[in-house]
């Protein structure tokens, strides 16, 4: 983490991450407007599998939402938490593998 705040490229990279995070709620809203469907959902509809999905765990932030928070705020919190967790997880994994 220190290397990221020390280097100028690291600081720029962290700023870019922040920008992506801030954009997430806007994109979430826009894709909701056109109606969200992925090819996998279409394939499930076509073969009658749509009702077979049965999540074993939905995680603390199911579907990138925060229980009790509305869509834009929940999406923003999910983006912050997820991006930070992924950064820390990948850095720690990298450090562990390095040794």
């Amino acid at each position: 983490m220190k290397a990221l705040t020390r280097n100028s490229w690291g600081r720029r990279a962290l700023l870019l991450l922040l920008l992506l995070v801030v954009l997430a709620p806007a994109f979430g809203w826009a894709s909701g407007v056109v109606g969200y469907a992925e090819p996998l959902e279409n394939a499930a509809e076509a073969t009658g599998a749509a009702d077979e999905a049965s999540p074993l765990i939905s995680g603390p932030f199911p579907d990138y939402s925060v229980p009790g928070l509305g869509a834009p705020a929940g999406t923003l919190v999910s983006a912050v938490v997820g991006t930070t967790l992924t950064l820390v997880f990948a850095l720690c994994a990298g450090k562990l593998v390095e040794r």
């Binding site: 490229w9 992506l20 992925e38 499930a44 599998a49 999540p55 579907d63 990298g94």
Partner: protein, 218 residues
């Protein structure tokens, strides 16, 4: 692209776990030689950036939306081993924290997005970069995301929930993602072009081409 639990037969899910486990294991062993003060922070930043970028659903008129997957980009920028590790971090966090993709299906989602997308993207880029570098990044992003859609389509199509209708699932997945893949290719090429211009030393193979690690043999 993320397969939820309940879609895959146990045998199919198990086979995907074996495949992704072997590939990620090889990637970890090879990554030992590559990681260090320079590339470990880059691994973290690329993984975090891919997570954030995957949250951006691009609305497409006509009732669909797609997000950047980024496996090919990870493979091109970081090389196959670190690319597999970066995408493994993303897909695992998505499943465990956000319920995006199942737990039993995690092996399949890792296989499609952290293995196939990364390795196919890397291989296509290496094969075509001599012709045109940015064009190679575009084709790599496009072909790789279509290949991972093929893996998902084959996996669900070989499962009872989808009535073993491979002839339906594969064309829908491959056709749909081949179309959406042009966006994947365009973003891959644009971001790769930007990074290669701004920080050519961060791009694996730009400074020492012979130093490129060979593809993971799967």
């Amino acid at each position: 692209m993320h397969i939820p639990d309940g879609f895959l037969d146990p045998l199919v899910a198990g086979l995907f776990w074996v495949g992704s486990g072997i590939a990620i294991g090889i990637a970890v062993r090879r990554a030992r030689r590559e990681l260090g003060d320079e590339r470990t922070p880059l691994l973290g930043v690329v993984a975090a950036g891919l997570f954030a970028a995957q949250m951006l659903n691009w609305p497409i008129p006509g009732g669909t939306s797609a997000h950047f997957v980024g496996g090919a980009f990870a493979g091109i920028l970081l090389g196959p081993s670190l690319g597999v590790l970066a995408m493994t971090a993303v897909v695992t966090i998505q499943a465990l924290v956000f319920g995006d993709g199942g737990i039993i299906a995690l092996g399949a989602n890792l296989f499609a997005m952290a293995v196939v997308d990364v390795l196919v993207g890397y291989a296509v880029f290496r094969g075509l970069r001599g012709v045109h570098e940015t064009g190679a990044a575009f084709v790599a992003g496009w072909v790789a995301v279509t290949a991972s859609a093929l893996a998902v389509g084959a996996g669900v199509g070989a499962s009872s929930a989808f009535a073993y209708e491979l002839g339906v699932t594969v064309p829908i997945m491959v056709g749909g993602h081949a179309l959406l893949g042009t966006i994947e290719g365009a973003i891959t090429a644009a971001v790769y072009g930007y990074v290669a211009d701004a920080r050519p030393d961060l791009v694996l193979g730009r400074t020492a081409d012979e130093g490129l690690s060979p593809e993971v043999g799967l």
